[in-house]
């Protein structure tokens, strides 16, 4: 096999942009929640897992078109995420030790969700057929049409997020709260609504990421761990709390990863990811694109 061929590299590049767009979907939500409400959501991987299972369920059991199933998963996981926030996270808002308490609560949510999924869907790995069985060929590159669909939807969602944050009242208020919560409260911004919106968006994007990747990987109750770690790495690379940074870092990571796969075995992916994390924190703790001095 020719390893250095231009076609292959172009193909992996495309694949990298695809993976990158999904990583960004995962990481942006995690980063938003940290940037706006100073909390870490360790249940973020479970939103990914739920999105994958919902997509599986609606397309296989209810025979809905899988792309519409992804959309349903997007909405349902968003609602779930908003409910979790309002029922068990917002009420402890005023208590001391916010960071630690929210870590423990989201860990609890993660354990509960994983075990519910285990009860409902079982331990067996579930697989979903591709969205479209068709291969697109151009310039000597062969890429599955389903992959292009995944990339397209992911990019559309990201564009939608960008529009939302830049142009709607809630989006602009979110930025304000992220910059200074007290000041935002003083001028009368509805904190609870803004927090809820952040959580709904974050959960929905993770759910969509799970749904989109469901036909690429198998689905099982702990499937959310690796995407969660990838989101960590993206967020560390891009600078914690920075959306722009997460976007750059996500695409960079996706591309680097898909090129590295040509030369490295995937079994060691986790170790490489961890080594990168340590390296970035040791030499550039604010992230490759970040300027915040935290």
């Amino acid at each position: 096999m020719e390893i250095f061929s231009f076609d292959l590299i172009l193909q992996q590049l495309l694949y990298g942009i695809l993976m990158g767009s999904v990583y960004v979907l995962m990481a942006v939500g995690f980063s938003l929640i940290w940037g706006i409400m100073d909390m870490l959501n360790f249940a973020h991987g479970e939103f990914f897992m739920l999105g994958a299972y919902f997509t599986y369920y609606f397309s296989q059991a209810m025979h809905i078109h899988p792309i519409i199933a992804v959309f349903i998963a997007f909405i349902l996981v968003g609602v779930f995420s908003g409910l979790i926030f309002n029922l068990i996270i917002y009420p402890i808002n005023k208590k001391p030790n916010w960071l630690t308490n929210t870590i423990i609560i989201t860990l609890g949510v993660s354990i509960c969700t994983q075990n519910l999924a285990l009860q409902f869907f079982g331990e067996r790995y579930k697989t979903l057929p591709k969205f479209i069985e068709y291969t697109v060929s151009f310039w000597g590159v062969n890429i599955g049409a389903d992959r292009l669909v995944i990339m397209l939807i992911a990019l559309l969602l990201l564009a939608g997020l960008w529009f939302f944050i830049q142009n709607t009242d809630i989006g602009i208020s979110m930025q304000a709260v992220g910059q200074n919560t007290e000041a935002a409260q003083l001028i009368g911004l509805p904190i609870r609504t803004i927090y809820t919106a952040t959580f709904v968006i974050s959960g929905a994007l993770a759910g969509a990421a799970g749904g989109l990747l469901a036909p690429v990987y198998s689905i099982y109750p702990t499937v959310g761990f690796m995407p969660l770690i990838m989101a960590f790495l993206v967020v560390i690379l891009g600078g914690l709390g920075s959306i722009k940074g997460a976007v750059y870092a996500g695409f960079l990571l996706g591309i680097v990863e898909s090129l590295a796969i040509l030369y490295l075995s995937t079994a060691w992916k986790g170790v490489v990811v961890f080594a990168l994390m340590i390296a970035v924190l040791s030499f550039k703790p604010t992230g490759l694109f970040g300027t915040r001095s935290e």
Partner: protein, 324 residues
């Protein structure tokens, strides 16, 4: 006050030492050993989280790392498990620097994020490195602790009685308790609380913040690795499941039952939790769900732990009584 505390601890240790004389059922001894394992983890974790105020997922990682290190060393080098247990502690402590050095000098949540990644990635490595760890099949045939021969009698670790293992666990617990007590009561203990309550102020008065954090991380990880090594030689079968979220949940629950920032509350918590879980196991794997729900409920209603909440309630009650 201090003498009273030491008295309580001595009574506790005394009770633990005498317990096997009155307990004949091996199963109860097993539950007590498991409680002590969770107890050692929780007590040492609580020094990092409760006293230093740094939230880490490192403990389950170092526990699992210790277990695998000790088992593999004993299997492949033929060293005595007594020695490999201690080496496992050292290995865990050295690896803790990997997490500690880049993250502890930074503000914010990096420790939690990196330590959680470390735990999940170790699990992945144990799954995938099948030539070394046998992957999901589990590492079997881990040697038991070797018998101790003293003139006149012999302590046999033969799998018939669990009592010898129990005493090893109690021994590790006692060493842990003494070390943690020494840390908390020393100058370092005050420095830890100063860092937790006001890091800048502590640094301004000359506390070497990062250095202190890293030392504490190192020491507590040693105990996590050591007890992990003991677990390996006690259970004699390891699967990548030792790096589970649920171990973190157990540590957290014990600490929440016993109380944050109290030295030995988590040990009591560990006993309560292990006994509870043992009774809940009849309902099947869904008990994990209740474990998670319990964590959420604790933070919701008694974020400082049951012991501290009870103490507060009692104080309130006595005040009400006095005013009548």
């Amino acid at each position: 006050m201090k003498n009273k505390q030491i008295l309580y601890y001595s009574i506790l240790i005394f009770v633990l030492l005498l317990a096997p004389l009155f307990i004949r059922q091996q199963y109860i001894i097993h539950i007590m050993i498991m409680s002590i394992i969770v107890g050692v983890l929780s007590v040492s974790w609580n020094i990092v989280s409760g006293y230093l105020g740094v939230f880490t997922f490192g403990h389950p990682a170092f526990y699992g790392l210790g277990a695998y290190s000790s088992a593999l060393l004993a299997l492949h080098t033929g060293m005595s498990p007594w020695l490999t247990m201690l080496l496992a502690g050292l290995i865990a402590a050295v690896f803790s620097l990997l997490v500690a050095l880049p993250t502890l000098r930074l503000r914010g949540p990096y420790v939690a994020v990196v330590s959680l990644s470390f735990m999940l990635i170790l699990e992945q490595v144990c799954y995938n490195w099948t030539s070394l760890t046998k992957g999901p099949m589990g590492l079997a045939g881990i040697p038991e602790l070797t018998n101790i021969r003293l003139p006149g009698f012999e302590i046999a670790f033969d799998g018939i009685s669990r009592v010898p293992n129990y005493y090893v666990a109690v021994l590790i617990l006692i060493v842990t308790m003494i070390c943690m007590y020494a840390i908390v009561e020393s100058r370092i203990g005050l420095q830890l609380e100063a860092i937790r309550d006001a890091e800048e102020a502590a640094a301004a008065t000359g506390v070497k913040v990062t250095q202190t954090k890293i030392i504490i991380f190192f020491i507590t990880s040693f105990f996590a690795g050591w007890i992990g090594g003991f677990y390996a030689h006690y259970i004699m079968l390891l699967t990548p499941g030792v790096f589970a979220f649920i171990i973190m949940a157990s540590i957290l629950t014990s600490t929440l039952i016993g109380g944050w920032g109290t030295l030995f509350g988590p040990l009591i918590g560990a006993f309560v939790l292990t006994i509870l879980i043992d009774n809940l196991k009849n309902i099947g794997d869904i008990y994990h769900f209740f474990h998670g729900a319990f964590l959420i409920a604790m933070i919701f209603f008694m974020p400082k732990g049951i012991v501290i909440s009870l103490r507060k309630a009692l104080k309130l009650l006595s005040k009400v009584n006095q005013s009548h």
